[in-house]
């Protein structure tokens, strides 16, 4: 039987939102193959796969060990490879998060198999077919997975999670004790906990038009009103105004929020490439000829220093009302 392994991601013991998307993709592939979805959760003692059954996991496998509370790359890879080796999965699905981008190639290397990385869609048509944006979204490959087994990493926010209630019976799987070759010793949290641009459903991004780093406070306020994250253009990251973690574009992050604000961003090709899969794009720029308006669903031509405070105020009203 051709089963599918979904490697889920947890933070502090609870499954992350992206795990429901991973499960949805795994379910789709398993239905095509006529097999089951097994969900594997790796973490510290006390971690559970609670909720995995809601999104289509027939079985939930938990690999827990105090030494696995933080992401330990080689030990996590070993746990996945051991389970894959024992059960012979046809496809392993991982989310293309910071962890998944590191873990997926390790699994593929250990299994000696193909990796379809950072895909935005997966379907089954006589075989597994994936959609894979390249050149930061300027073009899209449709690829047929011919190798067996294979590893697929799915871009966060690209596939809508579909509830599909299954038994999701939980079993513990053994964890081999080993010292990691590279050991994660600490997670550094920024003083101000910030939502990541790649995970946020609303992103408020700013560019040179903000004129000075301190003016990003305007965007912080708007993002806070929307429950979103602040993003930045390459120009302001290169100028040292904002951290690289916030950069959106081909040499930063490719984002797929439901709502993206480009404020004082002219819209260079490499920036537009990074926002193409956003559901709704709003541009606010004083230059009516800025290329960003061609990419935007809605635009306001005007002075952002007048528009943004007013917008924040109006959004607060809507949110409270």
């Amino acid at each position: 039987m051709a089963n599918v392994l979904a490697v889920l991601e947890q933070r502090g013991g609870a499954l992350k939102k992206v795990s429901s998307e991973t499960l949805t993709v795994a379910r789709r592939v398993a239905d095509g193959l006529g097999g089951e979805v097994h969900a594997l959760v790796i973490g510290g003692s006390g971690v559970s796969g609670e909720g995995a059954g809601t999104y289509g996991a027939d079985r939930v496998l938990v690999a827990s060990d105090d030494a696995l509370a933080l992401y330990q790359a080689d030990r996590y890879a070993a746990a996945v490879a051991a389970q894959a080796g024992a059960a012979g999965y046809e496809v392993v699905v991982v989310a293309a998060t910071a962890m998944g981008r590191d873990l997926a190639p390790r699994i593929a290397a250990r299994l000696g198999c193909a990796l379809a990385a950072d895909v935005t869609d997966v379907r089954f048509d006589g075989g597994v077919i994936v959609t894979r944006p390249v050149y930061a979204g300027k073009a899209t490959y449709t690829l047929k997975v011919t190798g067996s087994p294979s590893v697929i990493s799915i871009r966060p926010n690209a596939v809508a999670a579909v509830p599909d209630e299954r038994p999701g019976a939980t079993d513990a799987v053994p964890v081999e004790a080993a010292e990691p070759k590279a050991k994660t010793v600490e997670i550094k949290q920024p003083e101000k906990a910030a939502l990541d641009v790649a995970e946020a459903t609303v992103v408020v991004a700013g560019g040179r038009g903000l004129k000075a780093p301190e003016h990003f406070q305007l965007l912080e306020d708007l993002a806070a009103a929307l429950g979103g994250a602040v993003g930045a253009s390459r120009a302001v990251v290169d100028a040292g105004w904002r951290p690289h973690a916030e950069q959106v574009g081909q040499t930063g992050k490719v984002v797929s929020p439901s709502l993206y604000f480009a404020v004082g961003i002219s819209g260079a090709i490499q920036h537009l490439a990074g926002i193409r899969t956003a559901k709704t794009i709003v541009a606010i720029n004083k230059d009516a000829d800025a290329p960003i308006f061609k990419a935007a669903d809605y635009g306001i031509v005007g002075d952002l220093f007048e528009v943004i405070p007013k917008l924040t105020e109006e959004i607060r009203k809507v949110r409270e009302g």
């Binding site: 933080l70 790359a73 080689d74 998060t97 910071a98 981008r101 590191d102 997926a104 190639p105 390790r106 593929a108 290397a109 000696g112 198999c113 990796l115 379809a116 990385a117 950072d118 077919i129 390249v134 050149y135 930061a136 073009a139 899209t140 449709t142 047929k144 190798g147 294979s150 070759k181 590279a182 994660t184 010793v185 600490e186 997670i187 550094k188 949290q189 910030a194 995970e199 990251v237 690289h244 040499t251 439901s258 709502l259 090709i269 193409r276 709704t280 794009i281 308006f293 990419a295 809605y298 635009g299 306001i300 031509v301 005007g302 007048e306 528009v307 007013k310 917008l311 109006e314 809507v318």
Partner: protein
Amino acid sequence: MKLAVCVKRVPDSEARIKIGADGKSIDETGVKFVLNPYDEYAVEEALKLKEASGAGEVVVISVGPDTAQETLRTALAMGADRGVLLKAGALPLDPLPVAQALAAELKDGGYDLVLFGKVAIDDSSHAVGVMVAELLGLPCVSAVAHLTIADGKGSGEREIEGGGEVVEFALPAVVTADKGLNEPRYPALRGIMMAKKKPLEVKDAGLGTGGLDVVSLAYPPERKAGRIVGEGADAVPALVDALKNEAKVL
């Protein structure tokens, strides 16, 4: 220190991408190709580590077409000592064959540290560096924005959602570089002249095909045309109304 940096020739990030007549690859006519931007951080870091250690060698290696020799010359102009081109035609979309070719080349090289860019901006797999480490059985930290190497040990910090992971490891190791690691130097004229005389070995990569077949390469769906809702702060209520009632995203 003996260091290797694996680099890739990619279209410039400002390049317009045109799909070729075969519908399965890009038309490279008129496209400017560059050293992958993230690989520049890897080259710079290797040069700094060699300079700090006072001795050693920086070898740059690429899998790619004949024209990737130019990419290697760019790294040599920055200061790398010699280059190796593992010649291949079109690279497969599956990263494993590329990783296998690089791992075979690196295996007996006696490198203390192997560096990669965290991602190539063309196919964006984020995979080859990590795969090479796995194939060689070496410790690896990917997407490193801060790196410390001393006394045969290293510590790297990689960005994760909403924070950073600090990872410790022993050499030899593999590291993939993120933006922020350093400020890559520009090749000086003298460096460019010297690079022409530096050794550059060309051999066949013997690439496998991998397990992904290209069905098609297409442009992304066009976004539907948008509209300007108005000018200045007066247009804000109309925008909010459109977001709420038309786009339904509020």
